[in-house]
Symmetry: C2
Subunit: 338 residues, 2 copies
Amino acid sequence: MKVTLKDIAQQSGYSITTVSRALAGYSDVNAQTRQHIIEIANALGYQPNLLARQLRSQRTQTIGLIIPARDNGFSNDFFTQLILGIGDAAALENYDLLVSAQKPGEEEMEAYRRIAGGNRVDGMILARTRYNDPRISYLKSRDHPFVVFGRGAPGEDSDFPYIDVDGQAAIQVVTQHIIERGHRHIGLILPPPDIAFTQYRLTGYQQALAQAGIPYRPEYVVNGDLLRAGGYQGARQLLEHQAELTAIVACNDLMALGAMKAVQERGHQVGRTFAIAGYDDIPAAEYAQPPLTTIHQPLHEIGQRLVQMLIKIIAGNPPEDTHLLLPSKLIVRESSGF
Amino acid sequence: MKVTLKDIAQQSGYSITTVSRALAGYSDVNAQTRQHIIEIANALGYQPNLLARQLRSQRTQTIGLIIPARDNGFSNDFFTQLILGIGDAAALENYDLLVSAQKPGEEEMEAYRRIAGGNRVDGMILARTRYNDPRISYLKSRDHPFVVFGRGAPGEDSDFPYIDVDGQAAIQVVTQHIIERGHRHIGLILPPPDIAFTQYRLTGYQQALAQAGIPYRPEYVVNGDLLRAGGYQGARQLLEHQAELTAIVACNDLMALGAMKAVQERGHQVGRTFAIAGYDDIPAAEYAQPPLTTIHQPLHEIGQRLVQMLIKIIAGNPPEDTHLLLPSKLIVRESSGF
DNA sequence: TTGTAAGCGTTATCAC
DNA sequence: GTGATAACGCTTACAA
């Protein structure tokens, strides 16, 4: 049924070794012999068994990636964009992707152990670093190649290869932009506190305020769940207790869209009497009403760079700089003013 | 470095065989022995080498999926949604996903041969059937388990397991909806002709017209590339030569959004003087201005069903009905009228 | 130039 | 209960 080297060896009269070397293009095989063997291989439709090859060579040409399972039908634009970038880059380098969907937690760690520890991949790519991230300590302890999208939180040890976008600068820029539009009472909707980049974003916000001489008020800041619902609730909470607010910066677009709804329900005109900004530049941001001012991250490029860095690490030639901070771009649309 | 059964065997004084069986939970191992072996395995941080296990057992617990690489021009929104559904369902069934991004063409076929023929996966999931699809004939000829999202074109042999959404009914319903809003001159932007579902959608459109007693005019129909650009161009072309049009149905949302732009540039008010509808219900549809009337396909459920059907086929117990046609849902928003 | 044999790490068969 | 031994299909010293 399944054609193996053995079958070709029998058909051709040569040994398995010779067949293997002929097909691998070794120079120490007689040209005629090789020709003959290749013809038989084609005739039989031979396909090398990659499991066997991988087991033997201890290389899989595969990159592992564990994405958060979606609990409730909510689609994660951010991760899917990233997968595409990673997938494209991996294909160019002749790597495949092994993807597993897991909810953060013990099962997720189990998947890391299974996939990384089980020799199914040559390296892993992680995203959305968490405080004291157990995935990172695990991979470090096993000396398993990996790269991360997102450094550790400030003060944490970020002694691992990562690529990150400077979210602090980004939030500072967007907050500054809002301030320049004349706002002085600006709310902030942060991600959950266990996400590593949360603190950077808060700092960026504070810096922008400080530069403009606006006092920082902790009561202007809430945490959301990175979904629309969280943005909606966060904004409602802010508006209820801090009626003087005229602007809200949300740390991702989904929350910004949720906030926009809450603000509009409150009777404000987003873009005229109230400013809103997001972060991520998901496709929906462009189509929002009004279109959402936001921060664009080059996700496709990030995916490529992650793959390239990882492949160098796998090969044992890590690049000199394994701590890459990429710039992002402020995209001004109508939600922050006309 | 890497802990194997052999290491545990040495540490414990038992043979590799016994260690293997102890860890696999076989009942013919002394309870104490097992306990002892498990402790050592944990202490050493043993992780079974899955490549070896798979090679030996000829099962990979992995589903293969080849998606179009990004620069080929198709919308990936659709595929990424599908991956999430498939990934979630696969995880529940203890399967991982092997994903490879390839441009349709010879390299793509090569990837199918490599991955399916190379024993890297137990089964494959295909999407977006093409005319005379070479991927399907290949997998059939190799007897490799697979399921397809999307049956063959009308008249083609669809003698393979598939799940599909009834795109004919869907387009009929949405066209009917447009007609009910009072339109009689309705353009249609189809997918490229080499996609299998294109003909179904055209038929649905024609049926709706016929039911309403509206004559079918081929000059009202153009093909687009499934991207915004194609919708934009298609709509411009239609508007230029058929000025009497007051509505356009596009066969996916991206093209509908492109068409919307062209229509608006022409001075029409979408939702008031002109109706537009799409297909897919991508997130951006909800946020479009005006929000887009469209067809919602249960992509997450489809992913789950694909996985479940495939797993049964892999196990040798194909379900009675391997030709599933799922309903879709018309989502009415403002783009088709207020 | 070609063949023999070992080994990657696991599981299954069969003795003892 | 436990342990040799073979086998999954491949690559690669080492011999011939």
